[in-house]
Assembly symmetry: C2
Homo-oligomer: 380 residues x 2
């Protein structure tokens, strides 16, 4: 039994605290007393602390007796939080998905002899882990990741609910997408190259370029790599219209005598539209295609995930698929299975087959099941 501090108790943080509390002493911290009370109501063994995690002193205090820290704060707070945890000499597994470069903390982490696993969710997360695994095993020729979290009920006009804040989703629709074509980094606008793709059990979704490769662009030398996000058909067209018409603009606009950034008005309205209810059914879908060299030819390895809201525990699929990957990372550290000091993106963990099997088993035990198939790329 170890001491774990979970920083941030939102939808995913909450699921992680409950998962870890089955075996460990868990402290959950959040600025929202309400979120913490609802957590304690489910498991009174979890210690809860109301804390403003933007305060350096708060974090140092909260992690002082932790064996491993879990980071699940909003993206804009993530980097600074992680820096402080590392500086305090504490191991951390993080899913805050902050925009800064985590490797900027690598030297500090190695100096403090800290294991710091970043982006340990679904995508980024499992996608990196599995690419790292196959990159170690084979000659990987190309990598494609399609991923989306969507509500079961498709409601006009957006057919979308955000498991995190609307502004973070809009940022995804603004940030140019980086991917790798023929060994060269390529940048395209977000929401570009929409494509309709059928998925078993779901129907037709629409994929668009998103900036999701993150560390892979630097760590894995594969000639063709792309990540694309999935939505119900039509959502992308609508979001492009909003963007092109200036509704996501960050330039000051004078409205009724007041200066404001249109994106602030837009995200406020979309926040209402996109709020995911506590008991609202949603699912996570991911399809990885990894083409590898094989016997002088090639074969395609495919991982497919379709994970649904868990009605029994009212745990969202997004929380399960992201959160349990992260808690699997916590166990890897606690059980001494992964011990590389410094910043580790999941592809580093993927180099160790035992670690990969541990994580996939850990997820399977919690009902998060990846289907693996392989086929010759050019059969016949």
């Amino acid at each position: 039994m170890a001491n774990i501090t979970v920083l941030g108790s939102g939808m995913v943080g909450r699921a992680m605290a409950l998962d870890l509390a089955k075996k460990h002493r868990v402290t959950a911290a959040d600025i929202s007393e309400d979120a913490l009370q609802r957590l304690a109501a489910v498991n009174s063994g979890i210690r809860t602390t109301v804390a403003d995690l933007r305060q350096e002193s708060e974090i140092k205090k909260l992690v002082s007796d932790a064996d491993v820290v879990v980071g699940s704060v909003p993206g804009f707070m993530g980097f600074e939080m992680m820096r402080q945890v590392i500086d305090a000499g504490k191991n951390i597994v993080d899913i805050s998905f902050y925009p800064e470069n985590p490797f900027a903390l690598d030297a500090l982490a190695r100096q403090r002899n800290v294991i710091a696993i970043m982006d340990m969710g679904v995508a980024p997360g499992i996608s990196n882990l599995l690419l790292g695994y196959h990159h170690k095993q084979h000659k990987v020729l190309s990598f494609e990741c399609l991923v989306g979290g969507l509500p079961a009920e498709r409601r006009y006009p957006f057919e979308y609910k955000a498991p995190f804040s609307a502004i973070d989703v809009i940022e995804e629709y603004l940030r140019p997408a980086r991917f790798v074509v023929n060994g060269k980094q390529v940048v395209k606008p977000a929401l570009s190259d929409p494509e309709l793709i059928d998925f078993p059990g779901i129907g037709t979704l629409e994929a668009f370029n998103s900036d999701g490769l993150r560390s892979l662009v630097e760590t894995i030398p594969v000639a063709d790599m792309i990540e694309r996000t999935l939505r119900y058909p039509g959502h992308i067209a609508l979001m492009r219209a909003f963007r092109e018409a200036g509704f996501f603009s960050k330039e000051d606009l004078l409205v009724s005598g007041v200066k404001l950034e249109p994106i602030d008005c837009t995200s406020k309205l979309l926040f209402e539209q996109w709020r995911l209810g506590d008991h609202e059914e949603e699912f996570t879908v991911m399809r990885l295609r990894i083409v590898v060299g094989h016997d002088g030819g090639t074969k395609t390895l495919e991982y497919f995930l379709l994970d649904r809201f868990d009605k029994a525990t009212a745990t969202s699929s997004m929380a399960r698929t992201t959160g349990y990957t992260c808690t699997a990372g916590v166990e890897l550290i606690l059980e001494g299975k992964y011990n590389r000091p410094g910043i580790s993106p999941p592809e580093f963990i993927g180099e160790d087959e035992a670690c990969v099997q541990f994580v996939m088993n850990y997820l399977r035990e919690r009902g998060v099941k990846y289907q693996f198939t392989e086929s010759d790329s050019n059969p016949g």
Copy 2:
């Protein structure tokens, strides 16, 4: 040669002043000195006066020597302007299209012995005139008016340019549409019942219910009457999404600590998107279908208008089709052809065949040509 005062010198007011100045002494008034200077640059014979037409004293002064006044101010100023002109004992032909009920001014107009023609544009305007005409001649069974003003160049994402302010267009997308079915008034939401319809010379457009029958609902007892507005396909879906997501809302929203109505932010952004350039080619399309009893059966009378931007004079189609109908109304009064005191919607003028022919000839001379066809409704 008569004295005419044109109140409001926007796109349409300007075209009317220039048309009337060929025969008459014209005074053009507007709050924009720039608009007036550009008008005087084309015809220095037009007297221009910068004036705030929301000031009662200004209007009284401006119309004091007028034989007929032309009203072409923004909708929100229209009713009060018209009241003042009538109160001053001056005849008026108006295209301000204000939301208030013009018949509220009928008693005053009759008392002052004033001829006050309202809504003398295309639709409302010619549509009313022609329905009034056929209603006098035949038993009219149904009336359908499809009308739109559109840019020649279809630009993503709206494929629309507004010949008047964005806020007035948005109001059209909000105001419930009233029409008549089976002798009963029916109300449906704006933008409802989208339908794709092909037009010769244009291609496929999309029609939606709009609140354009106006006076006809009260004045003409026809069992089935509807007006629908035309846009390029897709525009309606986009506008419905904006509306349903709250972007046209007039309820206060707290954005970055400031209270504002989302519609104000939206109309500011759309104003930029929808601004019709001075030399931007656009067209007006209208299709009227009037089904009348005939020989125990029925026949369908159709009027079709496709009028384009006039490159030679850089006069927009919207200004030509709306403005020249209004100036035809001015001539009707000046030539003593129409002299009914009180408020007259165009359907009243339509009862007089000579007036209808005068107006249609007047338009034809200016290149605005309605094609008339008639056919048995159930041929064979």
